[in-house]
Symmetry: C2
Subunit: 278 residues, 2 copies
């Protein structure tokens, strides 16, 4: 699914050019899509183990991976985490969910609550929402002055560049759904008592700001999509497609690390001899 | 696999009575074992969602779950985490791995580094190793005076009772392998370059203390297996069996919570009306 890479955000990015229902490179409704979805699971598993093994062995140059997930309510962020990362060992994943900031968090710089979750070497980390909320919802509702929002784009680029400089690959994904698809999703939550808990009346209020949100996303993605921390605007109305695409981006990033199993840091023959007698 | 419950540790527990190769209630080598292994995956998924939903809805009486995993090196703790918890949403799991304490951790009471990882209401938490290391390795190597080890059994019982009192179900599992099986596992690591990174020459030194470790485990399990935080000594030589058994214990604990989907805390009809127009 190399087409996933084609969703990369460049300097001329316009969100209106991305059709949320499109599925380039994938027949999202084909019968055996699950086979394709799981095609590289063993490889992903091995890549994760290799990454972790090299961190433990302190192999110079070992990096980490960060996936940032953003999207409007009901865009399917949780489903991506759930389905894409099933291929990995949960013990070796670091998943941070960023909700509404607490009063303490608000009393610090916007990156204060994010920094402790920076992936360590050897780690695969996921941000379900992120520091981008501070240039999205905060811009739409003017919760910070325009100059401060402006400053944040630069601060984000620097923050991510520093992470990249210590070997962290960064993939940023906006799950781009249509306003109609969100409506379907919200109605689904209201029509199924098993989903009431996912529904929040405030979600409907936010819908009224759809256009401003799209503007805020467009600006944020354009201003912060860099070579070391690119954005991908993934069509989100076909959930299977979005999951396939994110999975491919993760696979591609891990492959690009050219990971090998670390060498033994002990005398293998001598240890074999000892072990046979032990 | 209700037989898993039969491994519960009582006051007369003797570790020598548990055959690490036994597999009561399960033909561990049957062809379609995977079907049985995944039989309750949908139920587990739903139970986890219900638990989380009730915590979000602040339903009174909502609890949490803690699984403590202990075992000798190569006992398969990582494999249990990996395989059993694949049925769950990784975003809603809290997995804490307790390695060798840092100097800072050693300068505090032994529970200091554990407490921040107590599961919150709605959470499913796993401890890969735990506070029990402080009455196992520390006892075997006399890293703490005998009176201090003695004090810790009581402190652990109290710590776990407090957790149970705020609704946390606690399952403690010792994956009990034979000394021969450990040898096989260590040799496997030494014979496969992809597994060198898992091998640590210190593991062979620890093997020399096998008998003392079994004594330390027997005492710890007997002294700290309570109604609210029972130990299960699970035969570990057949990995599939151990995974099946742990999975059943988790299922059983979640079922015992009698979870229902929370009620809506908003006017469903009014919201449906709004949503249709939005």
């Amino acid at each position: 699914m190399e087409e996933a890479l084609s969703h990369r955000v460049g300097p001329d990015f316009r969100i209106a050019d991305v059709d949320p229902t499109s599925t380039p490179g994938f027949e999202w409704d084909k019968e055996d899509w699950e086979t394709e979805f799981h095609e590289h699971d063993d490889e992903l598993d091995e890549l994760q183990s290799k990454l972790y093994a090299n961190a433990r062995a302190e192999t110079p140059g070992t990096g980490g991976l960060l996936l940032v997930l953003q999207g409007m309510d009901t865009a399917g962020k949780g489903g991506v985490v759930r389905n894409v990362f099933q291929a990995f060992d949960p013990e070796l994943l670091e998943i941070a969910t960023f909700g509404k900031p607490t009063p303490e968090e608000r009393s610090h710089d916007f990156l204060w609550r994010i920094r402790p979750h920076e992936p360590a070497v050897g780690q695969i980390a996921i941000f379900d929402r992120s520091h981008y909320e501070d240039v999205l919802i905060q811009r739409v509702h003017q919760m910070a002055p325009a100059e401060e929002i402006e400053r944040r784009y630069g601060a984000i680029v620097e923050f991510e560049r520093d992470m990249a400089n210590r070997g962290i690959r960064i993939i940023k994904v906006m799950l781009h759904i249509s306003k109609d698809f969100q409506k379907e999703n919200l109605l689904e939550r209201l029509e199924d008592p098993e989903k009431y808990w996912k529904y929040n009346p405030g979600d409907l209020d936010e819908r009224e700001h759809w256009v401003e949100y799209m503007e805020a996303y467009e600006t944020a993605l354009r201003r912060t999509s860099t070579d070391s921390a690119p954005w991908y605007c993934i069509p989100g109305d076909r959930k299977k497609y979005a999951r396939m695409a994110v999975k491919y981006l993760v696979l591609d990033a891990l492959r690009s690390m050219d990971l090998e199993w670390p060498e033994a840091d002990f005398d293998v023959e001598a240890e074999l001899e000892r072990a046979r007698k032990a």
